[in-house]
């Protein structure tokens, strides 16, 4: 609904008399939302708990009638997490002169505050007869520490007599609105109906990719499917929104601190109210401790959100059914040095919700199974017991190339790997993935193997060398690849070491039911 109200601004002694038309716009014709990830999270999925740490660019399209001359246009119902310094208004006949975001919302306390030292009506109803008496009153104090009124009788406190009392006000002050509002001032040569766009960044959103890798029966390829998971932690939903998500790392500075409005809740306080029979507690206790509640945007307020999501995700079966055939897949396009994912149809991003849309669906991605061990230098001890063998980590490794079945940007997220056993798809491991460009190596962790184990034994050192022996055992019926990075200065090794990611690495094929062995020595730096 749009309505035009002509409100005459009240005149000051010195200010020139100016009439400004007030246009109120509270209907959004269409909205588009572009989601950005939490800048502090380099990899992995949205945490199950807490206020979403990302943000969104919200673009609303509204149709308004602009009168000729100067006018104030109030856009009611912008997102509560709006960062007002980011607001852009386009489409007005002339330039926007100023933009205002008021933190003051219409509430009982805001009314008392606005009518302080002003005239209101107090209405008392008799419990016995139901007869109401009204009288005029002037608010003398409030809303901080209780409300005092001056009536024709004298000075009284509101809500302290035990009688049913209520205040009524002649009207709503022009600068108080029910919902978060952005207002702009503009002027126009002629009256016109225009379509305007309001864009702004808002906090309390997030998105991430959630990958499901299903290893095929042959153990050589996997099907990689990804959900684009969208989280809205605010209390405002966007119905039928054109929704996009941006991958990459746009720089984000700390948002400005908004001026805080008066507390929206009104607590009527009275004088001490102990009576003989209720001592020591006050008989009609009306004083509530003033809890400094943060405005709706803080994390504490969304506890419910946290609970719902945590329990829902934990109670769900560990192995979701194989991903369904996606009908709607988010389309990827370039946006400067970032990647934009566009959900092709308008969807609803509801308040306090998570939503999932397919974004990647690749079949038959070739991968290599690699077992890895880790090495850290340690000192030789003559009486040390034989070290225990350690389980090797099992990794599915592929390259993000078309030849391997991929070759598309892979945005950061969490990967769940499933393999088939007993005609069922079972979870074998979960790991985090960072943003992977085309051509980069991609690894999915699938936990540790009890079949491939390795142990590192230190041998007696000389002045310049510290020798070590690595032994890998394979209990599987297939030969397996084992890798161990040695990030130290090497003196010698009895096998050729490759360079992997800038680090000397031993790569060996461990025969089925067999062992592999490496003898190497680290160079010891002489103490100078």
């Amino acid at each position: 609904m749009r309505r035009i109200v002509f409100a005459f601004s009240l005149l000051l002694a010195a200010a020139p008399a100016a009439a400004q038309a007030l246009v109120e716009s509270d209907r959004i014709d269409s909205v588009s939302v572009t989601l950005y990830r939490d800048p502090g999270r380099g990899k992995g999925a949205i945490p199950a708990a807490g206020w979403p740490g990302g943000y969104a660019l919200v673009t609303e399209t509204r149709t308004i009638s602009v009168p000729a001359g100067k006018s104030v246009i109030r856009f009611v119902g912008v997102s509560e997490g709006m960062m007002p310094e980011t607001a852009i208004v386009t489409g007005l006949p002339r330039q926007v002169n100023e933009k205002n975001r008021d933190a003051r919302l219409l509430s009982p306390a805001a009314l008392i505050d606005a009518y302080l030292k002003r005239r209101v009506t107090i209405r008392r109803t008799s419990r016995a007869t139901g007869k109401a008496t009204e009288s005029e009153a002037i608010i003398q104090s409030g809303p901080g520490g209780g409300v005092l009124l001056t009536t024709a009788d004298g000075v009284e406190a509101l809500g302290c007599s035990g009688l049913p009392e209520k205040l009524s006000y002649p009207g709503v002050p022009a600068d108080l609105s029910a919902k978060p509002t952005l207002s702009v001032t503009t002027d126009s040569a002629a009256a016109a109906t225009v379509t305007v766009q309001i864009s702004y960044l808002a906090q309390g959103f997030d998105w991430s990719a959630n990958y499901v890798a299903q290893v095929a029966e042959d153990g050589e390829t996997l099907d990689l499917f990804a959900w684009l998971t969208v989280a809205n932690g605010g209390s405002q939903g966007f119905a039928g929104a054109r929704t996009n998500a941006v991958a990459g790392a746009p720089n984000k500075e700390q948002a400005a601190v908004l001026p805080k409005g008066p507390p929206p809740d009104l607590h009527l306080r009275c004088w001490p109210m102990d009576i003989t029979s209720t001592h020591p507690s006050w008989g009609i206790e009306r004083i509530l401790p003033r809890v400094e509640t943060a405005d709706g945007v803080m994390a504490e307020d969304v506890g419910g959100f946290e609970n719902i999501v945590v329990t829902a995700s934990r109670q769900s079966a560990p192995a979701p059914p194989p991903p369904p055939v996606p009908v709607m897949i988010a389309q990827q396009e370039e946006l400067g040095d970032l990647k934009l994912y566009r959900i092709p149809e308008p969807v609803t991003v509801a308040a306090l919700s998570r939503k999932q849309v397919a974004m990647i669906d690749r079949k038959k991605v070739a991968f290599a199974r690699v077992y890895t061990g880790s090495f850290e230098q340690f000192d030789y001890a003559r009486d040390a017991a034989e070290p225990e063998s350690r389980a090797a980590a099992r990794i599915l490794r592929t390259e993000n190339r078309e030849g391997k079945g991929l070759g598309l940007p892979l945005p950061a997220g969490r990967v769940a790997v499933f393999e088939r056993a007993h005609d069922e798809s079972l979870l074998v491991g979960e790991s985090d993935l960072t943003d992977r460009a085309i051509g980069e190596e991609v690894e999915f962790a699938t936990g540790e193997s009890s079949d491939l184990r390795y142990k590192v034994v230190a041998r007696p050192p000389s002045a310049r060398r510290q020798p070590f022996t690595v032994e890998v055992t394979n209990a599987r019926s297939t030969p397996e690849t084992f890798e161990m990075a040695i990030p130290y200065k090497l003196s010698s090794a009895n096998a050729t070491l490759i360079e992997r990611k800038g680090v000397k690495t031993w790569r060996a094929t461990v025969p089925a039911h067999g062992t592999a062995r490496l003898e190497f020595a680290l160079k010891l730096e002489r103490a100078r």
């Binding site: 104090s141 024709a152 004298g154 000075v155 007599s161 720089n251 566009r342």
Partner: protein
């Protein structure tokens, strides 16, 4: 009117009731006069308020409502023709029901009892004896506790004690030379008002151009509305440090003088029109609008001394533009935040990153980091570190870059931490030693390809 009827029916006590001002102000009315506000960037503001006072001759106490609730009362000055100041008071003993009751101890109030069965009211005079935990009243010869039986009792006080106020109030005792209307100028400093600037930059990569709008962002948390104020903003003197600004956004400080008004070394930004700064409001006013200024995008990849990466690290996307009069924005920029947008395939602007900028004089070469590139990454590898003598080491570094974009890019590689004594032995690409500390190379990386640079340094240890 009902009010008049009530006043006529009122008890004699109301004769003592505080006389109301002849006119109760309307909700949006303010006691402020001609207000001008000067806002600095260090959190202080100077408010000047010219009010028309109707004064009798001689000494008079004058209250000044609607001043900042955070007013620094020691900075208040009041001046006007023929006015002398006797004393200034800032009272913040706030009026509330319990305070009112406390101050009423020993005095007489009216209590009105309502019969719960019939609704009939009876009025009595009562003296408040104590207000400790509960209210003890003396009614005639009886001593009672207020509302001991839980029945409704209204307590009506004669008046509001003089030194209790609804809001912190400034009052000044004046000595007026003659009676009449005097324009009095009230000035004070207050925290709670601040400003910064926010820039909206639309980057057109194909054209290599930017459109930039600048907005002044004012915030008011003083607890007071300033209506129809003449606002002057003073740029500079930000005592706050830009801790998140890891690297400077000014590549080359400018040497041009902007046509903006100056105060000392501060730039002044007067707002074109009078405006209202409401409490708890964030307000933005336009101050810059430049279209089609040249800008270009580069990639930066900086490495610390002996730093290596096993996982490639993204290069930073950097936008470069100028604030010069020729080929630039043609203005000096107050400190603030630049938000960069780019149009997507459908033509809708999308946010691609933001960066704080320090205040930049006109003519500066600017370089802002908008984010990390998805497709352009690099990794540094320490190939070898060889000991040449007891004091010299030879360090071989390799820098590997990958580009998954469909066009070739150039990465500005920088190696930091060279101190003064690191010498260059050999390099596969000619770089530039920009300072004793830092060396830079421009590395071309082919489309969908890789490039590597190897450098050997000789260092003293």
């Amino acid at each position: 009117m009902r009010l008049t009827a009530l006043i006529l029916a009122a008890t004699p006590l109301t004769a003592h009731a505080q006389t109301q001002p002849a006119s109760v102000p309307a909700p949006d009315q303010s006691a402020q006069g001609d207000v001008s506000v000067t806002i600095y960037q260090n959190g202080q503001s100077l408010v000047q308020d010219v009010r028309q006072l109707d004064l009798p001759a001689g000494r008079t106490r004058q209250e000044f409502p609607d001043v900042s609730a955070q007013i620094r009362s020691e900075t208040v000055t009041l001046s006007g023709p023929g006015l002398g100041i006797v004393e200034q008071n800032f009272d913040y003993d706030l009026l509330s029901p319990d305070k009112l009751m406390e101050k009423a101890v020993g005095s007489v109030v009216t209590i009105v009892r309502t019969n719960p069965a019939t609704g009939a009211e009876t009025r009595e005079q009562a003296r408040v004896l104590a207000a400790n935990g509960g209210i003890v009243l003396q009614i005639g010869n009886r001593i009672e506790v207020l509302r001991d039986d839980g029945l409704p009792v209204r307590v009506i006080f004669d008046k509001v004690p003089e030194n209790l106020r609804a809001r912190p109030t400034l009052s000044v005792t004046l000595q007026a030379a003659q009676a009449g209307r005097v324009p009095a100028t009230l000035t004070y400093l207050t925290p709670g008002l601040g400003w910064t600037s926010d820039y909206v930059m639309l980057f057109d990569e194909a054209k290599g151009a930017i459109d930039m709008q600048g907005w002044v962002t004012l915030t008011n948390s003083t607890g007071t509305n300033y209506r129809g104020a003449d606002v002057l903003l003073v740029a500079g003197n930000t005592n706050r440090s830009f801790s998140r600004l890891a690297e400077s956004t000014i590549e080359q400080a400018g040497t041009e003088t902007s046509p903006r008004e100056k105060l000392g070394d501060y730039y002044l930004y007067p707002l074109g029109e009078r405006t209202t700064i409401a409490n708890a409001q964030q307000k933005q006013v336009s101050f810059l609008d430049v279209k089609n200024t040249p800008a270009r995008k580069t990639y930066e990849w900086t490495n610390g001394w002996l730093e290596t990466q096993t996982d490639p690290r993204s290069a930073a996307t950097v936008l470069k533009f100028s604030t010069s009069k020729n080929g630039g924005l043609g203005d000096q920029l107050p400190a603030g935040t630049i938000r960069v947008y780019m149009r997507d395939a459908r033509g809708d602007p999308q946010f691609i990153g933001e960066s704080r900028v320090a205040a930049a004089p006109m003519g500066s070469a600017m370089s802002i980091r908008t984010g990390d590139a998805f497709d352009v990454k690099g990794a540094a590898v320490l190939v070898e570190r060889k000991r040449m003598s007891s004091t010299r080491w030879r360090t071989s570094m390799r820098y590997d870059f990958t580009n998954a974009r469909a066009e070739p890019v150039t990465v500005d590689l920088a190696q930091n931490g060279l101190w003064g004594d690191v010498r260059l032995v050999e390099q596969s690409l000619t770089g530039e030693r920009v300072s004793a500390e830092r060396m830079e190379w421009k590395v071309p990386v082919p489309a969908n390809g890789k490039a590597s640079v190897t450098v050997v340094f000789d260092t003293r240890y």
